[in-house]
Symmetry: C2
Subunit: 397 residues, 2 copies
């Protein structure tokens, strides 16, 4: 396994924890820092694998929870695994399903062995144990897999946070053993938990960091806490993790998160945000997120962003993209998604370049000065809207 997965550090920032690395996997080489588009149901919503390649995607993330429920991991296995099932020949990372059990599943029943939940699709009952998750992820066949964990809510009482963390640690040890029985050639990343307690975060990173994982994912962040709290937690985590292994910030984030997270030692990022906000009309530019639905774009002859090299900006006016969204045409969702993904992947490439040339701090400061992020209030509103929409869909289903 160590011959297939190899992480080398190409450059390090002298004034922050930022580093540029190269991660070799059985399906190709990843240059870090990197953003991983999310393909929840074996497809990155509204774009094709060829379009993912074209925007510069080097690895995608898919969700074990969704795939196990539909189409089922056994079915994916009979098709030779997720790569061949979804026609994506680059690296794939699958999460463990733990987060979705907490955020989507109903009637969770947790014990030492694992967790039982009710499917959000059809109400059927399923049990996940650390061992079962390794079996499912073996059938899905991603390059990088994650172990079952418990994602504590925000806020969370310290005793509960400790209990969840310790349970997660015991589950991760079981996962390490089971993975070797299943598909030892897959790379298992350990997950750091510890909620919002500095000492728990340090402890979790120290314990998990000492186990023979190929890399580490920082879980339990971006679950509703202020951004400052999230960044504070990373300050306790990164120093405890082995320098020579890749670090993945789970479920984060926005353009500004990528820029900040890199400085706190993170190498890999994934989030539905760039694709989800695109579908709602929110498109990234160097100055911040714009709403392409706004009336001022009706007659805009230029591209969404001058100088952007994405397929959308090279071929279509902002007015046409505006028209497609107003008319609720499917091509809009694709063009918007391509633009935002390209933005994230160009940003990752520029961060890498800045680290290599010793300019990360200057790049970060310039970016953050120019980029106007969505305020906490706007983000909270959006979350509520999405939750309501998800509840409505569930009620229909």
């Amino acid at each position: 396994m160590s011959t297939v997965f190899e992480f080398t550090i190409d450059a390090e920032c002298s004034e922050s924890w930022a580093r540029a690395g190269t991660l070799r996997t059985p399906h190709g080489t990843i240059r870090t820092p990197i953003f991983m588009p999310v393909g929840t149901q074996a497809t990155v919503k509204s774009v094709s694998p060829e379009e993912l390649k074209a925007v510069g995607a080097q690895i995608i993330l898919s969700n074990t929870y969704h795939l196990m429920l539909r189409p089922g991991s056994q079915l994916i296995d009979t098709f030779g695994g997720l790569h061949s099932f979804m026609h994506w020949d680059g690296p794939i990372l699958t999460d463990s399903g733990g987060f979705q059990v907490w955020s989507l599943g109903h009637l969770r029943k947790l014990n030492e062995d694992g967790v039982t939940f009710k499917s959000h699709l059809d109400g059927s009952y399923h049990t996940l144990t650390p061992e079962r998750v390794m079996q499912i992820e073996a059938e899905i066949g991603a390059d990088i897999i994650l172990p079952l964990d418990i994602c504590a809510p925000y806020p969370c009482p310290p005793q509960e946070a400790r209990k969840a963390m310790e349970q997660t640690h015991r589950w991760e040890e079981r996962a390490l053993i089971e993975k070797e029985r299943q598909r030892p050639e897959q790379a298992l990343f350990g997950i750091v938990q510890g909620a919002f307690e500095p000492e728990l975060r340090s402890e979790s990173a120290r314990i998990i960091g000492s186990m023979p994982f190929t890399g580490f994912s920082i879980g339990g962040l971006s679950v509703g806490e202020p951004k400052a709290t999230m960044w504070e937690m990373l300050r306790y985590v990164t120093p405890e993790l082995p320098r020579e292994k890749p670090r993945h910030l789970l479920g984060v984030g926005s353009p500004e998160d990528l820029v900040m997270g890199v400085g706190l030692g993170m190498d890999m990022f994934d989030c539905v945000l760039p694709t989800r906000v695109a579908r709602h009309g929110g498109l990234f530019t160097r100055s911040g997120r714009i709403s392409i639905k706004a009336a001022r774009y009706r007659t805009a002859t230029g591209p969404i962003e001058e100088g952007c090299d994405c397929y959308t900006c090279r071929n279509y006016s902002a007015a046409y993209v505006h028209h497609l969204l107003r008319a609720e045409e499917q091509l809009y969702y694709r063009l918007g998604t391509i633009h935002n993904l390209r933005f994230m992947l160009r940003l990752a490439a520029e961060l890498r370049e800045a680290i290599i040339t010793g300019n990360y701090i200057a790049y970060r400061d310039e970016f953050l000065e120019r980029y106007k992020p969505a305020s906490e209030a706007v983000r909270e509103q959006q979350r509520e809207k999405w939750k309501a929409a998800a509840r409505a869909r569930q009620a229909q289903g």
Copy 2:
């Protein structure tokens, strides 16, 4: 104009009215018989212009009614016309809006001058006259344009059918004059009406066929009548039209319609059916239409159709396409649409080849023997479902 638009007949069938032709337009050459994908709102639903090229599309149709309401023909004009606005550099045909006024508009008020209707989008009032339609189509800037007409319903009392036809004829004369004032370089096709009266169909074809149109569109068919009635009407129309000009069967059709229509002298076809049924899971194969949603495709490792050269069949299993539709993933709509459009365009190319090699009749009979079309009952059910969905959307809007 005659130097830009040129129609030559490359081959004719000796046992039917089928012919293979070449139509030169300012945006490229079209080999007939041809199927024209429909891009109602300046986009063929869920596919990109590059994908249209890849499936073999040589010309697309767009709807004047929809474009005039959103984004507006003047706006399209300021972007240099529809080709540049939607990033499609091949030939475009726009219809006149007449059909949609009848099928979508509310509160129509018809007089000798034109027709007033209420927009299905926002309830605003609009008036179309033969002259206004020429102005709008000049702003949209398609290669081939159609004049305002009246589409009689099915069934229709003979006196009403005659009244509508004669009104249409007078409007078409006005359109010919106005077109020369607007953009003489656009090709105006005449529309043949006459409802379901054999003598009216002959008369309309004779009158319109003698006017200086670049080609002819047969309107008012496929509005609910049995297929046999539609084919019967063409038997009265085709012999009256000049042999040396292209003939377009408006709003038709299905694979079997294409095969039959060619034998009745039609060169060009357009219809939303292949793209619309694809979005509902209906995919074309040589044996007939299948429903990819059916449980039997859950584990189907082969493509939708063995031997199909479309992007979808070359890269994805039927099981994956089935999964995407079940999960309501946007990529499904694209993959299904690409498959059906490629089916229609390969069918058109094969019909052309059969005509050129003198095998049209054999090709037609073999195709129809093998292809199981949707029954009239199924078609009627689908129409009702779509109408209900359209009403629901309208009520929401």
